[in-house]
Symmetry: C2
Subunit: 371 residues, 2 copies
């Protein structure tokens, strides 16, 4: 009896095995230890720069279709805007497959937030911004980032959930995140991952420098809105607004991603620093991003502040599918909420093998036309 | 002590004074007796027929802007797509003013569902269908109503709420509702209200007959989808789908409106009759619709089945604003969720005077440019 009395919920939670709690806040993470009224929201946008400059690893032919096809997979279990879910040159499937597994296994509610996608997903989605993110190479990333933050705030004011997992699908979005962080004075050298094995860092930096050079001609100090307008993307502004509103309503948000969500955090810190003081905003990404030898997410987060940080592990090395094993060699890594959704899954009784086996089961069905 | 023990929540609920419980289901309505996780969703659409045939009382110049301006008022407290919230020739303000009052006083979460509006609201909104409802005069109301019902079902599967209040803003929508009901064989003669004092019934009937005549050339019996495709509107199909999904998840829905929601109920009865057997779908409208001498809502609902039905009273006869008093003479009557939102307000401690005084307070601010 004594023993039983001393046992707490945490003792039954073996998520420590599958989650690296880099910066743990029990107050924060306990909110995600049940599945009631969990909402997964994913903000998607195209970036015009990707049409002419290969800052994204996504195949140019399908880049406009990728966010739509990702969220169709998450919500419907199949992609409609493309013949199959996005897949890279190493046959590595979109991270949306991970999110789909969790959404289906835990019956999670999803919404797609369109922040300017050239191809609209063929599922109901929230239109938050019509125009895509512009060309950051000429300093025209966002038309009016202040308005987009306000849009995000309105959206956040009306979302019903007990906790939110907030992701993105923005091809080219690691460059815009780097741009915002550099513009705000962060040291991000060799710290931001890429969706491809070969991270075109020099190209990304030169695009960002081109974009930010537009700001230097201004006499006054550039505001965080100016910086977003020059080199940011629509997702960053909208997700920042959503976080600010939800924190005001005491609803916790787990930002789903690595460098891109660090970009969101850096903007929140500028325009609403109190939002980050309440242990209501955390971040989670995959081990593939966290352990990326070409990046240092923790090095960026440490500059922003003490953010609850959770890294989800996978067991893809055990996979019978080469395309999944490719994750272990640096392909794809993260996106469409994958890392945080895995963390959420492990907090609620699932194991890495549950996600892997789900994807292995559907892999050949999803990709039967090309394999 | 004895007395206290015997008192129940209902004894403190004086909503009987302000709500006519035409067909009461305590099991159903008790769900709406608290404000936790209540979602108000409003599905909006344009109807192409209104461009050439005056089946709607809304001024032709602003008809395309009306749904957008209505929902902007509800969410933001002001219209953006128009210089002021919609108002009719009698200076009678849009029913969105009632919904705005309740949303603001009870801090209700709102979403706008775009089912094909020619003018998009300048607030985040869910895109469910891009194309407006077509021309019912030629039997081309909905392109693919089966697909739209499925879209509504997907949406309903992912909405988080404890209970939903589901409304519409569809200029011309009383005619499409009549069309669907007539197509399904209901007797709706002199039974459906209009948003104007003079209800152009003959014109509406002739449009519906034109639209339905297309169906008569078919050899087999027309399905409910065929009927919707001929003379229905996008809102009816989407709202029906949402109701079916939510009932599957045991989440109650209060349909907000009169004849238009009777149209939704008639479709649900055809394609998912079990949805109506669980006391999870009710309807609520204003006394202005219910007591309309030119209509008979109850006469329609009785043909559909035993639907929990609630009528909200107002005290606009006491108003100092002539435009509000105009409701008592048959102007506007209902729309944008007004009747059900008032019922919801009365179930949660508000009184008719709270709504009236809120609108009186803002009336001259909203309409200062034209009064």
């Amino acid at each position: 009896m004594e023993i039983e009395k001393d046992l707490k919920l945490e003792d039954f939670d073996n998520s420590d095995k599958y989650i690296i709690k880099v910066n743990n806040s029990e107050k924060f993470i306990k909110n995600f230890r049940n599945t009631k009224n969990t909402l997964f929201a994913c903000t998607i946008s195209s970036i015009e720069t990707t049409k002419t400059i290969p800052i994204s690893g996504v195949n140019a032919k399908v880049i406009d279709y990728t966010p739509a096809a990702d969220m169709e997979l998450v919500v419907l279990g199949k992609s409609v805007s493309l013949a199959h879910p996005p897949i890279d040159a190493t046959n590595c499937p979109s991270p949306a497959t991970i999110t789909r597994a969790v959404v289906d296994l835990l019956k999670t509610s999803c919404i797609t937030i369109d922040a300017g996608c050239n191809v609209k997903p063929k599922i109901p989605h929230i239109l938050a911004e019509k125009e895509p993110t512009g060309d950051i190479n000429v300093g025209k990333g966002i038309k009016n980032s202040k308005l987009l933050v306000e849009t995000g705030k309105i959206l956040g004011k009306h979302l019903i959930c007990d906790k939110l997992i907030l992701g993105e699908s923005v091809p080219g979005g690691t460059t815009t995140a780097m741009g915002v962080l550099i513009g705000l004075g962060y040291d991000v050298r060799d710290k931001i991952s890429s969706g491809s094995v070969a991270n075109p860092k020099d190209l990304k930096l030169s695009v960002i420098q081109n974009g930010l050079s537009e700001l230097k001609t201004m006499t006054e100090k550039a505001s965080s809105y100016d910086i977003m307008n020059a080199v940011g993307d629509n997702m960053i502004a909208i997700n920042a607004g959503i976080c600010i509103s939800l924190a005001e309503r005491n609803i916790p948000v787990l930002l789903a991603g690595g460098g891109q969500m660090a970009g969101v955090l850096s903007i929140i810190k500028e325009i609403s620093p109190e939002t980050l003081t309440k242990e209501l905003i955390g971040i989670s990404t995959t081990e593939f991003v966290y352990n990326d030898p070409n990046a240092d997410l923790q090095g960026i987060l440490n500059q922003i502040g003490k953010i609850p940080t959770y890294i989800s592990k996978f067991d893809y090395e055990k996979s019978s599918v080469d395309g999944l094993k490719a994750y272990c060699s640096g392909s794809v890594k993260e996106g469409v909420g994958a890392g945080a959704m895995a963390t959420y899954a492990y907090l609620n009784g699932l194991k890495p093998e549950d996600i892997r086996e789900y994807i292995e089961k559907y892999y050949y069905e999803w990709y039967n036309e090309i394999l």
